[in-house]
């Protein structure tokens, strides 16, 4: 204390003198001093390399002494001795005007909006006590757009361009862009086409950051309720690893609460006949993908020039869509293993259905996922048998929470219960699928032991964990060094793919997840509104859930061992190949010369 730091400056904010680091924005300086300036277009996920600050909405304006115009706090940096006022009448009036102008071109259908209760615009209207809108003007109208995963209602778009940032900068997909100008300006796919006709991966990250009801998931809760009430149907549910560490947030529990037991109880109360776990099929994925990796490695080490190394994981369907669209020349690099969601569906409607003597048509498989891409995935034709899908409906964590609320269930007060057998038994390796690095760590735990025939000296591979966009580590397989790469965010995946294409990749195996932090921040999770502490809490919870489980290696899962014995035979054997592996399609635009076109 008492020392003056060169990099610190003094400012006065709402009559309080404070020290802030050079380069701090007014918004950040205010926040650090418990002054909560409203924002709308501004969005940041700290530590995840995600920031959107076009400085366009002006809801965050403040008064700076000596300046004629109000300054947007989100993009204005503090300067030495700056005097800032964040709540003068002038400031409040300006903010109110901004808000009323936004509302004048916004449908007032909060009551029936998918974002109601969780909308940043609605929250501002509440905060400002808006009782009437003094500006009347024409409202822009755009067509509604439904894809298998996402509903777009651009009449509600406020042009914050957060979605455009996620799609272009974080995912480098570029399905969305700002188009037109002035009154008709909006964020849209090229030619105002439907999202299905673009290279959209359905990662849902645009939905995750949209502050309003312009982007939302396709809702399947109605279909699930109908199936649950149909006495002729046996309804089976599977829940993804990342759901259990986030669903509690929807019921006021602290972020990072592990609510596996309450969730299983709630699902039973909702009327699901069998409450199973995607973690089980995550273990199955490891058996298949891990074996595939070892098979490829064996050939590679024997000098086979045709074998594709690195092997890339294939459990994230948004990532699958991404390489099908953008790297059609590399379709043979990713593993052919289906995602855990689809492996579960395939096993439920064959192995389990046969065991229980249930006809395929009479079984409905529902998946609860943190993800929007899974909605698209389960609609893919190659995952259907005679038109009947392996997974009928995929709903998000948010949709499950709304079903639970609808059914008058007091989630937080529920007793814990266990998943049903046999498709509910799982290991810690299955749980860590929920975050970046987890799939490859699970694969290492198993591949090491199968390859060396020895017990792996450790279970926790800290070197594979973390939230940096691209990570790498070399794991010693008892004398054989295996180079592992990990990426989350498709821009990072793109970098690793380009390295492979140029022949510069040093990796033997690479794990990719599309979402920031992996599935824990999937497009279907409870909204974090830019608070990355929530994501970190979920991340911690995933590893805690792993530690809490008695078995932590996929190949030691008794139900999986039983499944191979009774039904599948061997990993990557004929039956597994038929039921648990898939193939990929070239979805890149093709140019061809049209000889008839004049």
């Amino acid at each position: 204390m008492g020392e003056t730091n060169m990099d610190m400056i003094k400012i006065t904010i709402d009559n309080k003198v404070v020290e802030v680091a050079k380069g701090t924005t007014i918004l950040k300086a205010a926040k650090d001093n418990n002054i909560n300036i409203p924002t709308l277009c501004y969005f940041e996920l700290a530590g995840m390399d995600i920031v959107n600050k076009p400085g366009s909405c002006r809801i965050c304006v403040v008064e700076v002494e000596g300046r004629r115009n109000l300054a947007p706090a989100c993009i204005t940096e503090c300067t030495p001795d700056m005097v800032i006022k964040t709540n003068t009448t002038r400031v409040l009036n300006a903010r109110r005007t901004v808000l009323e102008l936004l509302l004048s071109d916004h449908p007032s259908d909060c009551l029936v909006c998918p974002k109601s209760g969780d909308c940043e615009l609605q929250n501002l209207a509440i905060r400002f006590g808006i009782r009437e809108i003094n500006y009347v003007g024409e409202q822009s109208t755009y067509k509604q757009d439904d894809s298998p995963s996402i509903h777009r209602d651009m009449n509600k778009c406020i042009m914050c361009r957060r979605c455009e940032m996620m799609c272009n900068e974080f995912q480098t997909v570029g399905a969305l862009s700002a188009i037109n100008r002035g009154f008709t300006a909006v964020v849209s796919p090229a030619f105002e086409e439907d999202l299905t006709l673009t290279s959209c991966t359905f990662c849902g990250q645009c939905v995750a950051v949209c502050p309003v009801g312009a982007l939302s998931e396709i809702n399947h809760t109605g279909k699930v309720l109908r199936a649950l009430n149909d006495p002729t149907k046996t309804v089976v549910v599977q829940t993804a690893p990342a759901v259990r560490v986030a669903i509690g947030e929807e019921f006021g529990m602290a972020p990072g609460t592990i609510a596996t037991g309450q969730m299983a109880t709630a699902l039973r109360k909702l009327g699901f006949d069998y409450v199973f776990d995607t973690d089980w099929s995550a273990d199955l994925t490891i058996m298949e993908e891990g074996t595939e990796l070892l098979n490829r490695l064996k050939k590679f080490l024997a000098g086979d020039k045709d074998v594709k190394i690195p092997l890339m994981t294939s459990c994230c369907p948004a990532w699958v869509n991404f390489f099908e669209h953008n790297f059609p020349d590399m379709l043979d690099i990713p593993s052919t293993a289906k995602s855990p969601q689809q492996m579960f569906g395939a096993m439920a409607k064959s192995y389990f259905a046969e065991k229980k003597n249930i006809k395929r048509e009479d079984m409905v498989v529902v998946s609860v996922m943190p993800c929007l891409a899974k909605k698209y995935e389960c609609s893919r034709d190659e995952f259907k048998v005679n038109g009947n899908p392996d997974v009928d409906y995929s709903i998000t964590t948010r949709e499950l929470a709304s079903l639970i609320k609808l059914a008058n269930i007091d989630f937080a007060a529920l007793p814990e219960s266990k998943f049903d057998d046999p498709l509910g038994e799982s290991t810690g390796a299955g749980v860590i699928f929920g975050t970046t690095g987890g799939v490859i760590e699970a694969a290492v735990r198993t591949a090491y032991e199968i390859h060396t025939g020895k017990k792996c000296p450790k279970i926790d591979f800290e070197e594979l964990r973390g939230l940096e966009g691209i990570r790498s580590a070399t794991i010693d397989f008892d004398g054989l060094p295996i180079n592992i790469g990990i990426a989350h965010g498709l821009k990072n995946a793109r970098k690793l793919l380009e390295e492979i294409r140029e022949g510069k990749s040093k990796f033997h195996a690479i794990e990719i997840m599309a979402c920031p932090g992996g599935c824990i921040d999937g497009g279907g999770q409870p909204r974090h509104h830019g608070n990355s502490e929530i994501i970190k809490a979920r991340w911690n919870a995933i590893y805690e859930a792993d530690k809490n489980l008695p078995i932590r290696k996929s190949h030691e899962n008794p139900s999986i061992i039983q499944l191979y014995k009774e039904y599948l035979g061997e990993p990557c054997g004929e039956k597994s190949h038929h039921l648990l592996h898939t193939h990929y399609f070239n979805k890149h635009n093709v140019f061809e010369v049209d000889l008839n076109k004049k």
Partner: protein, 161 residues
């Protein structure tokens, strides 16, 4: 989602590729590329934008973002007889709007569109420096002045042989 097949004439493909090459495939040159391609081909249909995106390695949504932002760019081919109605101040106060409306009504197209037979396209523009003749319209290079809505049908008939 099947693969989207994009069909273009070979000569157009060649033109577009050479223009992109000329600008060194720099995404920053997008506006200049679009400008020249429109100069050569006359308009920028979706297929053309797809190819430009492919060549410059940028998303096609970004290309469309630029095309839709500037009213100079058009996705419609110009008609054989491009019609432009002046909406400058002098023409406006003398009833240019009713002239434009009449063209739209008679041709059954909106501003920025082309008739299905490719004969006429309709645009509006700012003062063309013939204010003394207001309200003014041009068909190709020919200027028509002191128009009233009743003239529109007659003028179009001149080109309808």
């Amino acid at each position: 989602m099947a693969k989207v097949k994009i069909k273009l004439r070979q000569e157009h493909i060649d033109i577009i590729k050479s223009i992109c090459k000329k600008f060194d495939y720099k995404p920053g040159e997008l506006i200049n590329v679009l400008h020249q391609v429109q100069g050569e081909i006359g308009y920028l249909p979706a297929e053309v934008q797809e190819l430009i995106a492919e060549e410059l390695k940028i998303p096609v949504s970004k290309v469309f973002g630029v095309v839709s932002f500037y009213s100079f760019f058009t996705m419609q081919p110009k008609g054989k007889h491009p019609i432009s109605v002046c909406m400058g101040t002098a023409c406006y106060v003398r009833g240019a709007e009713s002239i434009l409306d009449e063209f739209q009504r008679v041709l059954k197209i909106g501003v920025g569109e082309t008739t299905p037979d490719g004969k006429f396209s309709l645009t509006s523009l700012r003062c063309i420096g013939a204010c003394g003749l207001a309200p003014v319209a041009m068909i190709g290079d020919k200027v028509y002045g002191r128009l009233c809505p009743d003239d529109v049908k007659k003028i179009i008939a001149e080109y309808n042989d």
